[in-house]
């Protein structure tokens, strides 16, 4: 069995463990510094196994050394937003949380592929990449898979079609500047630009941009975790099973799209080695502009980080 370690056993971390257990393709080690939290959730998941028919082993620990020998490490540690906060507000405080984790990954499981979810994702994925000196293809941020599942859900709601028939691409940063590409949002291959009037599409785009905040405004004391965890589990599966799925992720760019030394959302082939290949879309001038706005914001954000 392959081994996935999830650092941070909050809602996103433990729901990711839940989805991976349901997929039944690898063992999971949940790690959290809060004593008992990871163990309790792991045991609860194991006690569900006889009913749910999985034989993956879900373990919990408060000792980060237990990440040793992981194929994939998912980082969901750190603070989450409170209402009225932007994701970028979390940059410095979460960089401090992640610092020791980077060192431990280097020490105990240096060859693992790292998936970062800690916000702000693009900036902190860059931080992990540079600070840890990891291979660019092995350091990935989870962003676009979540943004696209939300976009697909809203498209299917608007058109009253099954989500199974929808596809979508969201590139750029995982924040208010995300670049949503209606030309590449399709229902059974048909661009939504042919199926919906512009004002409807604009509304859906706005809804997608604000989707995380919308959930937060409902739940008040918690952020979204079902859709984010489903997105992470999808990425983990692509890596473990080497499916080479094309997924939108925050990738460490080294010249693709003319951008060097930054992590930004792009479509990529995800397989056993992580980012197997960044796919370069032929963007229109307008789309390019959106993408570059995103680049500027992230580049400015990472300036405060010492790497």
């Amino acid at each position: 069995m392959k081994k996935i370690s999830i650092i941070g056993a909050g809602n996103v971390g433990s729901t990711t463990a839940f989805y991976i257990a349901e997929k039944n393709f690898s063992d999971v080690m949940l790690i959290d510094i809060a004593e008992g939290r990871a163990k309790g959730k792991a045991l609860d998941l194991m006690e569900a196994a006889p009913v749910r028919n999985y034989d993956a082993k879900i373990d919990g620990s408060d000792n980060i050394e237990d990440i040793a020998g992981s194929d994939v490490v998912v980082i969901t540690a750190g603070h989450v937003r409170k209402p009225e906060m932007s994701r970028l507000d979390l940059l410095e405080v979460n960089a401090k949380v992640i610092d020791p984790i980077i060192q431990k990954i280097k020490q105990y499981t240096p060859n693992a592929i790292i998936i970062n979810i800690t916000e702000p994702v693009d900036a902190l994925t860059y931080y992990i990449w540079k600070k840890g000196g990891f291979e660019s293809k092995k350091t990935i941020g989870m962003t676009g898979v979540l943004d696209t599942t939300r976009l697909r859900e809203f498209i299917s709601k608007e058109l009253q079609v099954s989500t199974a028939d929808t596809t979508a691409l969201v590139i750029g940063g995982h924040h208010d500047y995300m670049a949503i590409l209606p030309r590449y949002a399709r229902v059974e291959g048909i661009p939504i630009t042919q199926l919906l009037p512009k004002e409807k599409i604009d509304k859906i785009i706005k809804h997608t941009r604000e989707a995380g905040t919308e959930i937060l405004s409902y739940l008040k004391t918690a952020t979204a975790h079902y859709a984010p965890a489903a997105a992470i589990a999808e990425m983990v599966e692509a890596i473990i099973k080497d499916t080479r799925s094309i997924l939108c992720v925050s990738a460490c760019l080294q010249g693709e799209y003319g951008i060097k030394d930054l992590c930004l959302g792009v479509p990529a082939i995800i397989g056993a080695n992580g980012v197997e290949k960044v796919i370069e879309l032929q963007l229109t001038i307008e789309e390019r502009q959106q993408f570059e706005e995103s680049e500027t914001v992230i580049r400015k954000a990472v300036e405060v980080l010492e790497v």
């Binding site: 309790g40 045991l43 028919n53 599942t149 859900e153 008040k220 489903a230």
Partner: protein
């Protein structure tokens, strides 16, 4: 599409919604009195649908009239015990909540099957039955599947075998007085009494009995929800698909096992009408006695509620 309503959108309620969405068997309504809680969780789970490939509808609301036409109603509502609160106060408060919820179920969806999850569930199932005036088979409590899934996990863990090959039977009330039956608990059809020494079995039984408390001791601020929700979802599926599986559940007894007029955990056949049949196992005297002890504990709590004037 069938419709399942879940009252109470805490961890158990919303995780049940997630398991049900994964099973793709019914549209789901999450209902909670807390503004935004159900809406937020339902929307979050819906936004996961394109990845997880389910097209069932998930809705969240504070409006109980949305219960209308539910095939199954799962009740997980209730408050958790707060510091300084006596068990009696908690019982009293939650019984009142269940009573009020039951009135709404009777009003809006009189033909549904109710699955009671709120603890003490054997008692709360009785409150729901009495309040709704539903047919006896239409109210069923979730306990034995949770206790037996824990029992199965511990057996599999001890023997180093797959959980898939295990079965386990746990009778009685969902609490310290539960009655795990090693004679009816098997691995690949072989009773565990042939596979494990008695002291090992005793240890596993003790751990099963305290399974809920063990999780609380780890989590500190919360209780178990993955295994409980998986158990609830299993029961819902049985009812929606009329699977007629034999599962340990809390059912109203009218003389079966020599017990009359209370809900207690026994193996039943679970189908579209709820409790299709109660299965009477052959019990040895000590098993029987344990079941009676468990039954009198449930009866005492009901009497307490009658004293308090809640029933």
């Amino acid at each position: 599409m069938k419709k399942v309503s879940i009252i109470g959108s805490g961890n158990v309620g919303s995780t049940t919604a997630l398991y049900l969405a994964e099973k793709k068997i019914a549209d789901i309504y999450l209902i909670d009195v807390i503004e935004g809680l159900s809406e937020g969780k339902a929307l979050d789970a819906e936004e996961g649908a394109p990845i997880r490939r389910y097209d069932t509808e998930l809705r969240g609301t504070t409006d109980f009239s949305k219960l209308v036409d539910s095939d199954v109603v799962v009740v997980t509502a209730g408050i958790a015990r707060e510091p300084g609160m006596s068990r009696e106060d908690l019982l009293n408060t939650n019984a009142k909540i269940i009573k009020s919820v039951s009135e709404k179920i009777a009003k809006y969806t009189p033909n549904s099957v109710i699955i009671m999850v709120t603890n003490p569930l054997d008692v709360m199932a009785y409150v729901a039955l009495k309040t709704t005036g539903f047919a006896l088979k239409k109210v069923v409590g979730m306990a034995g599947i949770l206790d037996s899934t824990r029992f199965r996990y511990f057996i599999a863990h001890k023997l180093g075998v797959s959980v898939r090959d295990t079965t386990a039977m746990v009778l009685g009330g969902h609490g310290d007085s539960m009655v795990p039956l090693p004679r009816y608990s098997t691995v690949g059809g072989i009773p565990i009494i042939e596979l494990l020494p008695k002291d090992n079995i005793d240890k596993i039984i003790e751990r099963t009995r305290k399974g809920g408390a063990e999780i609380v001791s780890y989590l500190k601020t919360g209780s178990a929800f993955y295994a409980p929700a998986a158990a609830v979802a299993e029961m819902v599926e049985c009812i929606i698909r009329d699977k007629r599986r034999i599962l340990p559940c809390s059912a109203y007894l009218r003389g079966e096992y020599g017990i009359e007029g209370i809900f207690i955990g026994v193996p039943i056949m679970l189908g579209k009408n709820g409790v299709e049949k109660i299965i009477e196992l052959e019990l040895i005297p000590e098993e029987k006695e344990a079941l009676y002890t468990s039954g009198s504990a449930v009866k005492k709590v009901i009497e307490k509620l009658e004293e308090l004037g809640v029933l």
